[in-house]
Symmetry: C2
DNA sequence: ATATTTATGTAGCGGTCGATACAGAATCGG
DNA sequence: CCGATTCTGTATCGACCGCTACATAAATAT
């Protein structure tokens, strides 16, 4: 008889997914280092051994929180950029979307990938998030290069400079959201930023 | 007899200014929370009681480090903006200067005011730096408004949006410097950012 | 009913945190 | 010389850190 679905043992006394969501919000709000196990167990209403049994440890819980963050309805860079008819239009939508997301009152301000491990004393956590940031930068770079290759953007366009520029605006918007910037303010930043974009040849 | 200059007691066995500079670099590099008293005493080559006698405590030492940071040859926002013939020219110089400063190999990357207290568990320290950031933002806003009032910038220019935009670019450049961006990359960001600036009426 | 397996709650591990009590050392004024 | 004053080194404080040993509770398997 094959019984893969049932397991022996005492069932878990809390909702693992809900706990992961709560942990994500804590890490997002306060950052990795400043969020202690005591903070987490208090917010989750469980004791430390239950947390370790369910998630493995602080670092593992943080990694799962980051994955939960990226999978929780947030639109990826590549999804927005690939769906757009041009790099310019894609970047415009990306900035606008981030302005709204960074100031969504339903969750902590700013971007978790950008802010949760700044000045982090645990190198593995810091590099994990930096790698994610660099991956996003690469996605932007490729999308811009695609338009240059196809002739939609002038060949004189500096893909590298534009990529870094977009990255700076997004990181700055996140920092400003954490300093209390409003949605309208960040939308203004996104709009102002697009005026720097070179006008396309064919649009 | 008046003797204000000489004091009794055993003389300090280390250079206070040099120690403050070392402490500043540590806080700048690792942030307030991640820099421990043990880190500081080790780097300064002194024992904890000497540190407390000379500086008062961790928070006081940090405040003095921030003051030392702002007084150590760094050009203030107001100095750059007031000396420029226009807000546009001033912002351009400011961004260019920050690109160079954030990547100066003589000191840690990025801006200490922007990065040393992100996700800081000590609220007084976090608000102290945020207040400094908001003060800089106000300086930018006033400089832009001055050009609008004088007619140098078109009255349709959105001072608030431009101010937030400049702030976002600077904060983003600092974050990118901390992620390893080169001086040339940040100069490219500064140059790209200025293409968003509305063309002045009279220049 | 018993054995097995897994989760829970208590209580505490070694380590680090910021900060300090205390005694001795080094300089001053007299 | 003698206090008075200030700095230095040792040794440590209580609080918190991430983490876990241990016994108990609650489910399934046979």
């Amino acid at each position: 008889m094959i019984r893969m679905t049932t397991k022996a043992g005492r069932p878990r006394g809390f909702d693992r997914d809900a706990a992961l969501d709560t942990a994500m919000r804590l890490f997002w709000d306060k950052g990795y280092d400043a969020t202690s196990i005591a903070d987490l167990t208090a917010a989750l209403g469980i004791a430390a051994p239950s947390l370790y049994a369910a998630f493995g440890g602080k670092r593992e819980l943080f990694e799962q929180s980051i994955r939960h963050y990226q999978d929780a309805g947030r639109i990826e860079f590549s999804a927005i950029l690939d769906a757009a008819p041009s790099a310019r239009e894609g970047i415009a939508r990306l900035l606008r979307d981030r302005a709204d997301d960074f100031t969504d009152p339903a969750h902590p301000p700013g971007c978790m990938v950008l802010s949760a491990a700044t000045n982090c004393a645990t190198p593995e956590v810091a590099t994990s998030l930096r790698d994610r940031r660099l991956a996003n930068t690469a996605v932007v770079r490729r999308r811009i290069q695609r338009d240059i290759d196809s002739g939609l953007l002038d060949a004189s366009a500096d893909a590298e400079a534009l990529t870094m520029y977009v990255g700076a605006v997004i990181q700055g918007m996140s920092a400003q959201a954490r300093d209390g910037a409003t949605r309208e303010q960040l939308r203004g930043v996104a709009a102002a930023a697009m005026r720097a974009w070179p006008v396309a040849d064919a649009e």
